[in-house]
Amino acid sequence: MSTFSVKHTTQQHVDVLSVTGFLDAHTAPQLEQEIQKYSDVPTPKIVVDFKELDYISSAGMGVFMMFIEDIRSKSGDIKLARMQPKVYSVFDLLGFPMLFDIVDSIDDAVVKFGTSNE
């Protein structure tokens, strides 16, 4: 039984990772592997779509901290989109909006990358 999954799509040269289910210390390594795949490019542009994510613990949130410094150093970014209020409340509580763009739609996130070119 899988309690977590990640689906990859692209939108205007941005990698969109849609996460579903429960992201905790057990499932966080799955997300880590997926982000690793798409961060190994010259300028990673990643949006994580939280619409179907029902739960996140600090282990899941920690995955974003693992990658953000490296990705920003390559002028890329990870943007976070469409969180359910109960999930957003935990990010907000810890102050993640200080470091991450957290937006209401995937389109908003893609626009923020300003991606009309590669």
Binding site: T3, F22, D24, A25, H26, Y55, S57, S58, A59, M61, G62, M65, M66, I68, E69, K86, S89, V90, L93, L94, G95, F96, M98, L99
Partner: protein
């Protein structure tokens, strides 16, 4: 090693669960906490927050007290006493007192791209009272007690 579930003096009034020290058990623990807290009258958001705090505490036991040794076991007992929901998380691994760690300064945390250490701030935020009793010769169990007031 003697099973905790057979030796620990659980409160007769408690709901309880014992699991192996494996992160695959976290979902089962959250389900247990949610089911019990809802049954005891907590609102949905409060229940979600309590389950998250307990998840963080249990993930620390798996990682720090048992170092991912999946042959070990820990237990939770939960009961209502004096308008408080009390959750005891019991292990017999290495002592790991979450109260001994200073909470991170989050501005510094983000400006320096720090990693880890976010579980305990979550526990502190959502739980009203936290106590830790480390194992000794008279009481060979570490017990982390999380108390949430019914409000």
């Amino acid at each position: 090693m003697t099973k905790l579930s057979r030796t620990y003096p659980f409160s007769p009034r408690s709901h309880r669960i014992c699991v192996t020290s494996d992160t695959s058990e976290l979902k089962k623990i959250r389900d247990f906490i949610e089911r019990t807290a809802l049954q005891l009258g907590f609102a949905e958001q409060a229940t979600y927050n309590i389950a998250l705090a307990v998840d963080e505490a249990c993930a620390n036991i798996i990682r720090h007290s048992y170092k991912h040794d999946t042959t070990r076991e820990f237990c939770l007992e939960i009961f209502v006493e004096q308008s408080c929901l009390t959750i005891n998380i019991i292990d017999n691994g290495a002592t790991f007192d979450p109260l001994s760690l200073a909470p991170p300064n989050m501005k510094e945390y983000f400006s320096k791209f720090m990693k880890g250490g976010l579980g305990i701030p979550i526990i502190r935020k959502f739980i009203d009272e936290i106590r830790y009793q480390s194992a000794d010769s008279d009481h060979p169990y570490n017990v982390l007690t999380l108390v949430k007031r019914l409000s």
